[in-house]
């Protein structure tokens, strides 16, 4: 019997093609935006998690309290702090870094990527298990005017690709390219150029300033404890609290939190568009009930119960929601895959994947939205007085 009602509902929908489609489009937009936004933010989460993995979960990052990321003006950390960090026995490697945008020249072209200065031996150890090289070698003790390029810095920054052993000029000084990193997926790191710390100090005249210290703990150490110990020691030695000691896990948590809020806001916006789509269905259903008042009277005259009428109209609105859901899910998925592709090509690795659970959820959600929007009009239809309905012109 439900199957027959289903046929009746399909009949009603297809007999008002244009209006039905306009109604369904409302749901399509709502569901597509929800699906797209959720898969994009899931992708963003994936990408960020992956990048932090590449940073390594056994590392602690010390930066000046004002440190906002490479390239920003930061004051506070110096070589003295590096010595302090080295006092902690649980660290296997302590690698200070400094970063500034520098002028880089290659074959007559000039660009301003971020230049990282790091101690060759320590940074090589630090990178050993997280940043692999595509070609060449890490910096080593004794290197001076030698550089490792991020994959983007080598391949995309300049019109002509830079290869191993090519010469580039940084702040007017000639450097030899000894290595090229594999792509990590974020534009900033992939566009950066790493050179020895001493050389950096020389060409940037940065004195004993340090931007951040990355320290790797020995296997089996309790990272939060080491973190506390380091904080106490730094506070002691410096006499201020003008520094941050963070672990990757902490950063990841913070970013996830922010991302969660952004996600909630975006999904909220998408939900609003779905509600608007639902109101569209409701409106269309009210019109449909009005248009078919006489038919409802006829159906009651030939034995339809109130509940039969209710079912027919609910199936109709649920069906419109469902059809909108199918198209919305497909559209939303394509949209997010497209954006992910575009972002990845533009240098920000965004891992958008097809998520069957999310798609099912979208379908179900659209169906429920359709049913809910149909409840009031369908109830109204079911309660029509047959005599009055039959008199309706």
């Amino acid at each position: 019997m439900i199957l027959e009602y289903f046929k009746l509902a399909v009949n009603n929908i297809t007999h008002r093609k244009v209006r039905s489609w306009l109604t369904i489009i409302g749901i399509i937009i709502g569901i597509a935006s929800i699906i797209a936004l959720i898969s994009l933010s899931l992708g963003l989460q994936n990408s960020i998690a992956e990048q932090f993995e590449s940073f390594g979960s056994d590392k602690i990052l010390v930066s000046a309290a004002t440190f906002q990321g490479p390239g920003s003006l930061s004051i506070g950390l110096t070589e003295k702090d590096v010595e302090t960090v080295k006092k902690i026995q649980e660290f296997k490697v302590v690698a200070p870094f400094i970063a500034k945008p520098g002028s880089v020249e290659y074959k007559g072209e000039s660009k301003f990527p971020i230049i990282f200065g790091g101690q060759p031996k320590e940074s090589a150890e630090l990178f050993a298990d997280t940043r692999t090289l595509e070609k060449g070698r890490y910096l080593k003790e004794g290197d001076h005017y030698d550089a490792i390029l991020g994959s983007r810095a080598a391949k995309k920054l300049f019109k002509k690709e830079i290869r191993i052993n090519n010469k580039i000029k940084i702040n007017g000084k000639e450097f030899k390219v000894v290595g090229i990193f594999e792509e990590v997926g974020n534009q900033q790191d992939d566009s950066a150029i790493s050179i020895p710390l001493d050389t950096f100090k020389e060409i940037f005249k940065s004195g004993d300033q340090i931007d951040f210290i990355s320290a790797q703990v020995k296997p089996g150490s309790n990272i939060p404890e080491v973190q506390k110990k380091l904080e106490r020691l730094l506070k002691d030695k410096r006499g201020d609290e003008n520094f941050n000691v963070v672990t990757p896990t902490q950063i990841l948590e913070q970013i996830s939190q922010v991302l969660g809020i952004v996600q909630a806001v975006l999904v909220g916006i998408a939900a609003i568009s779905l509600v608007v789509g639902g109101i569209g269905i409701m409106n269309s259903m009210y019109t449909s009930v009005l248009e078919r008042t006489r038919d409802i009277g006829v159906m009651k005259a030939i034995g339809a119960k109130d509940s039969d009428i209710l079912k027919i109209f609910l199936i109709e609105s649920g069906l419109m929601g469902f059809v909108g859901g199918i198209f919305g899910v497909v559209l939303g998925t394509l949209l997010s895959l497209g954006i992910g592709q575009y972002a990845t090509e533009a240098g920000f690795k965004l891992l958008v994947t097809i998520n069957p659970q999310l798609m099912l959820f979208g379908l179900f959600f659209a169906f429920i939205a359709g049913i809910i929007s149909g409840v009031l009009p369908a109830y109204r239809a079911s309660q029509l007085n047959p005599v009055e309905a039959l008199r309706h012109e």
Partner: protein
């Protein structure tokens, strides 16, 4: 003789914007199984109202209505609908087919609401359409049919659940006299097979063919 319809002092008033319109002022009559009754009377006298109440489409304001000894004024909403679908076949002046459904689907619809076996439904609907001479119009939509053909579909639909009673409210009102005559012949044939038929009509010639005429005037039965 078995009574199929009993009306006991039935009154019906409508409330139109706080103006009370008395459509029926207390009518009582009985119809036996297999009777053919013509209902006549001037426009606005309450004929359609009486038909709607007999067919349980509407409830009386006062009085009692029995269909085969069941007091329909005491039934629940859904039981009334069930009884109406099973026992009564309506035929309207304006045909009242569902325009988006084919002739066959229109005839199947009453059986659908009675939850009958599906394959039987279709078979039965085809037989009924053949009975009214529309076997080659089954897949047509009502707008593609002539008035007479539409009324035939409506008759086939009214017969779908083998009703005890056919209630025809001016079934020929929208048809020319020849087509109208054919429709009346069809109804008379059904009556011969044992179905109780009530026809509202303004046409003396049609009324004459019924063995019994009830005349309603100002909501009362005229003697």
């Amino acid at each position: 003789m078995q009574k199929v319809i009993q009306l006991q002092n039935v009154k019906k008033s409508y409330n139109l914007d706080n103006v009370i319109v008395n459509a029926l002022n207390g009518i009582s009559f009985e119809v036996n199984k297999g009777e053919l009754v013509a209902i006549m009377g001037p426009s606005g006298s309450g004929k359609s109202t009486a038909m709607q109440i007999i067919g349980s489409l509407d409830l009386p304001t006062e009085g009692r209505v029995f269909i085969e000894d069941v007091d329909i004024t005491k039934l629940s909403h859904s039981n009334i609908a069930q009884l109406r679908g099973k026992k009564v076949g309506f035929i309207f002046q304006t045909f009242n087919l569902i325009p988006s459904l084919t002739a066959l689907e229109n005839v199947t619809l009453p059986m659908l609401f009675q939850d009958l076996n599906k394959t039987k439904q279709k078979q039965k609907a085809k037989e009924l359409l053949a009975l009214v001479g529309l076997q080659d119009r089954m897949d047509h939509l009502p707008p593609e049919l002539s008035g007479g053909q539409r009324q035939r579909v409506a008759i086939a639909r009214a017969l779908a659940n083998d009703p005890e009673i056919i209630l025809a409210d001016e079934p020929t009102g929208n048809l020319d006299s020849k087509t109208g005559g054919e429709i009346i012949n069809l109804l008379l044939e059904l009556n011969k097979k044992g179905t109780t038929v009530l026809i509202v009509t303004h046409d003396q010639n049609i009324a004459k063919r019924a063995k019994r005429i009830i005349t309603i005037r100002d909501g009362l039965i005229a003697k």
